[in-house]
């Protein structure tokens, strides 16, 4: 089984990657600006909704219910989709999904040794690394989301989940377009650049016969698939080609068509701070004379089923990929998602990426959080991300403690020692006395400096007051019974 989450297996640990990301002032400024804008808009749109908390609860309830009956709803979706003329394929992991996609594209490109496919942005395809697999098979994927297109034409990497071309300014984009679109007189105004992209892509939309998309929701009751978008490239890819291949993570299924009434209210407000995003496309199987006449769904597991056994871990699968947690997270704000080493970054990435890969990779991600709870506050399906983080930390620690190196790690010994000290008043007060004596070694001008070990990471950048000469308890014992409190 080759469960894969992007290139996460090769990514450096979070603290190391974060250190890198923190150096990039420009990107940090851009990310701060972008997240501020969306957060403010989100707050505005949410404040308008007197029933926001009820919608969140309903979303959470619906997702929990669905996951508790996931087999039932997946079967129902598959049956209804096929009844309507679609074909449903099941993929256990990334390799299997890619192989299915490649075979389908080849089946439908009999006369073309180097087929092209147009793509609607889907993080699921990044998760399974679909594009490199297609290219290796001689198939050219053409990204049609504006930012992904800029990145692709610029032979670059996405710098951000929400706004992948955030690192490119208008002049750089103009230069890319001038070169790749053969438009020597193109100006750098966003209006002109957008118009150029519109014309360039339109030509591709009209002639490419195969499209690949993801989906936001798969409705079991009817076999309907729903794609939520802003730019219109989704509508183009979902309507114009002859063949449509849609990649859907198994957690995207929802029971009833009417359930959309909850998610289509919470998703746009959470994701982009809009009352409603410009376009939602819904289709079921194949409709004669309207849209692709060959429709294939690839249902993807790739590690998701592993999360079902534990109820807390199962919550992770409630995610509707709105990104609100990213925008709310103070850690993400500083590191811009590059530090997470995974297509899924921010708070949801910190719990999803490691779990999909059975905690073999991305082990540092559950620790990439202060547990401040800002994510939980904004999650439209009420995933208790801090609770899942603590749970994952527990699993990681328990796993480490089974190994000799884990048992002997400085952190483990420190934690064991601290626990022993906290358990006994005698030991605690002895430790305090010892600390009062020992800290004099590290005192300079009333501050503690150059502390050894892990504590050194504190004193390298922050001052630290020494333990006071008198503890609160001692002070309380000594004060006169009727006195007022000590003034400062």
């Amino acid at each position: 089984m080759s469960i894969r989450v992007g290139k996460a297996a090769a990514a450096p640990a979070f603290p190391i990657a974060a250190h890198e990301a923190l150096q990039n002032d420009q990107l940090r400024r851009n990310v701060r600006h972008a997240t501020n804008v969306i957060r403010t808009k989100r707050a505005l749109r949410v404040d308008e909704m007197p029933d926001w908390q009820q919608l969140r609860q309903a979303g959470s309830d619906l997702k929990q219910h669905t996951l508790a009956h996931l087999d039932h709803y997946l079967e129902q979706f598959a049956a209804n989709c096929e009844k309507a003329g679609g074909k449903v394929h099941w993929a256990r992991d990334a390799d299997e999904a890619n192989a299915i996609a490649i075979q389908l594209i080849r089946d439908h490109s009999a006369n073309d040794p180097h087929p092209e496919v147009i793509k609607v942005k889907t993080m699921t395809s990044d998760e399974i690394q679909l594009n490199p697999a297609l290219e290796a098979a001689g198939i050219t994927p053409i990204e049609t989301d504006l930012a992904d297109m800029i990145v692709q034409l610029g032979h670059d990497e996405p710098s951000h989940i929400v706004v992948p071309a955030l690192h490119k300014n208008r002049f750089e984009i103009r230069d890319i377009f001038r070169k790749e679109m053969n438009l020597p007189d193109l100006t750098e105004t966003p209006e002109d650049l957008t118009a150029a992209a519109r014309r360039y892509l339109r030509e591709r939309f009209l002639r490419t016969r195969i499209a690949v998309s993801g989906a936001n929701f798969a409705i079991a009751e009817t076999g309907t698939v729903c794609v939520v978008e802003s730019e219109g490239n989704g509508r183009m890819c979902l309507t114009l080609p002859d063949v449509l291949i849609t990649l859907i993570g198994i957690e995207k299924v929802i029971p009833r068509f009417a359930d959309l009434e909850v998610f289509l209210q919470t998703l746009p407000r959470s994701a982009t701070g809009e009352r409603m995003n410009p376009y939602n496309s819904l289709w079921t199987g194949v409709t004669p004379n309207d849209g692709p006449q060959h429709f294939h769904v690839i249902l993807l597991d790739n590690g998701r089923t592993q999360l079902l056994a534990n109820e807390l871990e199962r919550e992770t699968l409630q995610c509707i990929r709105c990104g609100a947690c990213l925008n709310a997270c103070p850690v993400y704000r500083e590191t811009s998602g590059l530090a997470y080493g995974s297509i899924y970054s921010g708070p949801i990435g910190a719990i999803l990426s490691p779990q999909l890969q059975s905690l073999d990779h991305s082990r540092s991600l559950p620790y990439a959080s202060t547990l401040c709870g800002a994510c939980y506050e904004v999650c439209p399906v009420k995933i208790n991300i801090p609770e899942v983080l603590v749970h994952l930390r527990g699993r990681i620690v328990r796993g480490d403690q089974k190994t000799l190196s884990g048992k002997l790690s400085i952190e483990n010994i420190a934690m064991q020692t601290a626990a022993k000290i906290f358990l006994s008043r005698r030991r605690y007060e002895a430790a305090q006395r010892l600390a009062r004596i020992g800290q004099s070694l590290f005192e300079r001008k009333g501050q503690l400096v150059n502390l050894p070990g892990m504590a050194g990471a504190w004193t390298a950048t922050r001052d630290l007051r020494p333990i006071p000469a008198q503890s609160f308890r001692d002070w309380w014992k000594e004060r006169p019974a009727s006195s007022k409190g000590a003034a400062r």
């Binding site: 992948p164 009833r256 376009y279």
Partner: protein, 211 residues
């Protein structure tokens, strides 16, 4: 074992014994959010107009459907558009006599691509979000015809306008398996230096006629 069988078996294994009646427990999920609006029809219309204005849509509120053909003609005259497309099922009485529309039943992409403007009816609308919902059949046309032209003229009947999304979805349920598109303003992107630009793909102009 096929992939399907294996995935389903894994799921069942992890979920353990579950209640065998998902429909029953689904029905038990409380829906305490607002499903029905409380605004009067006039207030609802005002709200809808406010949202459409936010999207820079051109709006014409008509006393009756009699004014539709003349309004369409006037709109097209202002924009100078002459190539209008409509579904063959679109009421011919509503088409202006001054132009010869392209009528779509199953035209090719190239044939539809000639159209500059498209006129359709709609299935329902949501006032609070300024959303128009099309179910692609009859006078609402195939998806293709509201996708390629640059100008979409949409005819909305007053009683199709609901305050909240749940009510607007209810009339659609019987047709849930048809292609459906919800439209809330023109397309948009903020990908270039976080500057919001309207009109990337799909019609850049939306004109709404309400009768």
């Amino acid at each position: 074992m096929t992939a399907r069988e294996q995935i389903l078996a894994t799921i069942r294994g992890h979920l353990g014994t579950q209640a065998s009646n998902p429909a029953a427990s689904h029905a038990l999920i409380p829906a305490t959010y607002n499903r029905i609006g409380r605004l009067s029809p006039e207030a609802r219309l005002e709200l809808f107009l406010d949202r459409l204005t936010d999207y820079d849509s051109e709006i014409h509120v008509l006393p009756t459907s009699d004014a539709i053909p003349a309004t369409i003609a006037q709109v097209l005259a202002t924009t100078g558009e002459t190539q209008l497309i409509a579904s063959t099922a679109f009421p011919s009485a509503w088409l202006p006599s001054t132009i010869t529309p392209i009528l779509d039943g199953n035209l090719s992409i190239e044939e539809v691509g000639v159209a500059q403007a498209v006129v359709t009816t709609c299935e329902s609308a949501v006032a609070s979000t300024g959303t128009i919902i099309l179910v692609h059949q009859g006078a609402q046309g195939r998806r293709l015809i509201t996708l390629l032209p640059d100008h979409h003229i949409c005819i909305v009947r007053r009683d199709q306008i609901f305050e909240h999304l749940p009510e607007a979805l209810t009339p659609i349920l019987p047709n849930a398996r048809l292609p459906i598109t919800t439209i809330s303003g023109p397309s948009a992107t903020s990908d270039i230096e976080m500057t919001r630009i309207r009109g990337v793909h799909g019609p850049r102009r939306l004109t709404v006629l309400i009768y």
